[in-house]
Amino acid sequence: MDFNWNEEQKMLMDMVRKFFEKECPMTLVKKMMTEPEGQQIDLWEKMAELGLLGLLFEKRYGGGEAGFLELAAFLEETGRAMAPGPFFSSMVMAGLVLAETDNEALKAKLIPAVCSGEKILTLAVGEEDDLWEARYIQTRAERAGDDYLVTGRKMFVRDAHLADPILVAARAGDAEKAITVLAVDSTSPGIKITPLRTISGEKQCEVLFDRVKVPADQIVVQEDRGWAVIEKIRPRIIIARCAQMIGGMERVLDMTIRYAAEREQFGVPISSFQVIQHYCVDMLMDLEMSRYLTYEAAWRANEGLPLDKEASMAKALCSDAFIRIAEKSHQIHGGIGFTDEYDLHVYSKHAKGWELTLGNGFDHRAIVARELGL
């Protein structure tokens, strides 16, 4: 057993932390949360230059050929910094699907562009909700000569306003799991992208497809394997999100401990009060339990082991734990934490947004129950 990051992973985290501290101050994070675009080109290009956008991909496409643990290490730091930009959509969500394609031409075209940041991709699967079950996919891809016509409605599609192409999961046959994934040019006629206004400022959109023409060579994964790929990457995306949540929780705890030591009432720092100390320890208990469930799940992803249950355990706990941590932190911070100027709300908004997307505690406990054979 080994519960620690290795030296290289620690160096990566240290590098990324310093990078965000320098290039991504909270003023920028807050600005991006409220701006419709939510993308700062300068930061994006610098992330690409450092190779962060290509971490997972093969070297021959300009990637870093790192493992899933390195990805998790990087993402933990993005959560700590609450770094804006479409990296989660592009390199994680779409990237994990692209890594599974056997469409070599598409791979050779898209992956280098994802690594360099030149192209931003995203993945559109969910419709009714954000939990992705094959039976709820109604968007259809119908054969029309050499092309497909895609019709349907996708919800909560991250960064769709920036993305091109959008990887879309669509029904190509009558069987429940006959789902294909297509790379849809987002400028195609028949696409309508409507940005949503989310609690965290995370950029999500409704994307409507009305007989959108997609050439057959834009098929990322055929219908015989499409849903298997989605099922394979879904827990990985969930763990990736958990890694961000760990970073976010850790930052909130740091912020809270520092504030409690500085803030004086009744002539003493409020950290001298046992109730404040115990709140902080409650936060640490939540963080540490979430941390090791997440790390084990990330390790399983890294090793290619089955991980549906582990990913869901991690997300079930992270979802609830981040909320509890944020709420306790607000209580300890008092009025200052309720101001726009202070940084805490950035984290508590993401705690709520990330709780409710990619499956909340109830959703993931339902999966855990299933995995327990109930």
Binding site: I257, C280, A298, L372
Partner: protein
């Protein structure tokens, strides 16, 4: 990171499992919650014969220098079926390591082989009526007299004192120092010594598990003083880090967890299995999440010890998380069983002969013994988060 066990560790786990299975078949293990600390001398001897006591101790003291992760694997399997470890548990976990750290050569020669043979049982004589969370307030005195110390005082909450051969005693050797934590020492006490009176306390479960121990002019040879005079409190605090770290804080009721999973699958309410009720599924999955997180934290403590680190706040944090799970398990199990969840052992229709409500009653003690959750949180705040302490 590496969350897998080595092939040797997996093989070891299998070996332990097979042995325990054989003990279930002959009825030595009853696979019921809260039976893991029953005294069973033949079982402890069998464990000893296999070299499973003191396995992580140094070789020169009769151990095998195996890792704490290995020891945790052994505990994991024993706790899953609540094998009766009462006799050897305390010596293996706590007394042996403490003697290795602080004991004299004579003490080691006398006690370690006996512990390793599964024959030495110990109870702890720490708490007093006026010294609970504030352990340093102990008033029991140990006064030098020739080649002995003479002990006077009263101890309380002493689990298994009515079975144990020896007591591990904390007493005041310097009554005058204003710094109370610098005036205590540790002793090994023969529980059969003249002047030792053990009075049973019946706990809220209705069982005799712990006791009051009265000490009246009890003579303890000086050779039974452990470690340095007046350093006893510090020594205990260090041992506590080991005491708190184990899987027993998580899995003392593991049989109930297994039985609960079986119960919801087999029990029908309103025409369908309880396991199809979304609330039941949610509650049990919530338990599983907490259990697996606690399980990882325990193995992490073992791993930290293997890395040469003394778990301090980590062990306190781990115990706080694990005991919370154990309490939630009993709360959830009784609630899911509904009116059947109140049927105690011996009652007709009691699922698993009342294991759930019995465990529920036991579970009040889990967040008290070995440091209350509140004391643990103080430790974590001070040592883990470096938050200024009050006053």
């Amino acid at each position: 990171m590496e969350f897998d066990f080595t092939p040797e560790q997996k093989k070891f786990r299998e070996e332990v499992r097979e042995f325990l299975q054989s003990q279930i078949e002959v009825g030595v293990i009853v696979d019921r919650s809260n039976r893991g600390f029953d005294f069973n001398s033949s079982f402890s001897k069998k464990i000893a014969e296999r070299g499973w006591i003191g396995m992580s101790w140094p070789k020169k003291f009769g151990g095998q220098e195996r890792s704490f992760v290995d020891r945790t694997i052994l505990m994991d399997e024993c706790l899953k079926v609540n094998a009766p470890m009462g006799i050897h548990f305390m010596g293996d976990r706590q007394i042996g390591p403490a003697l290795i750290l602080y004991g004299t050569d004579e003490q080691r020669a006398e006690f370690l082989p006996k512990i390793l043979r599964g024959e030495a049982s110990f109870c702890l004589l720490f708490s007093e009526p006026g010294a609970g969370s504030d352990l340093v307030a102990v008033r029991t005195t140990a006064v030098e007299d020739g080649d002995s110390y003479v002990i006077n005082g009263q101890k309380v909450w002493n689990s298994n004192a009515h079975y144990a051969e020896y007591g591990w005693l904390l007493a005041r050797t310097d009554p005058d120092t204003p710094q109370k934590h610098k005036g205590c020492s540790e002793f090994i006490l023969d529980m059969k010594s003249p002047g030792v009176t053990i009075r049973p306390l019946i706990n809220a479960v209705g069982l005799h598990s712990f006791n009051e121990v009265f000490l009246e002019d009890v003579r303890v040879p000086k050779s039974r003083l452990v470690g340095q005079v007046n350093r006893g409190f510090y020594q205990i605090m260090e041992q506590m880090d080991y005491e708190r770290a184990g899987l027993e804080r998580l899995m003392q009721d593991y049989p109930l967890y297994k039985h609960l999973l079986q119960y919801v699958k087999e029990t029908h309410r309103q025409g369908k299995p309880l396991s199809e009720d979304p609330q039941v599924r949610d509650q049990i999955a919530g338990l599983e999440v907490e259990f697996q997180a606690g399980h990882l934290l325990c193995y992490r403590i073992a791993w930290l010890i293997d890395q040469g680190q003394l778990p301090g706040y980590e062990a306190a944090l781990c115990k706080a998380c694990c005991t919370r799970f154990k309490q939630r398990l009993a709360e959830t199990a009784t609630r899911i069983m509904g009116p059947y969840g109140q049927l105690m052992p011996g009652s007709p229709y009691a699922p698993w002969n009342g294991e759930a409500p019995e465990t529920y009653l036991w579970s009040r003690s889990y967040t008290l013994q070995g440091g209350t959750t509140e004391i643990l949180k103080n430790i974590v705040a001070r040592r883990g988060l470096q938050i200024a302490s009050a006053g």
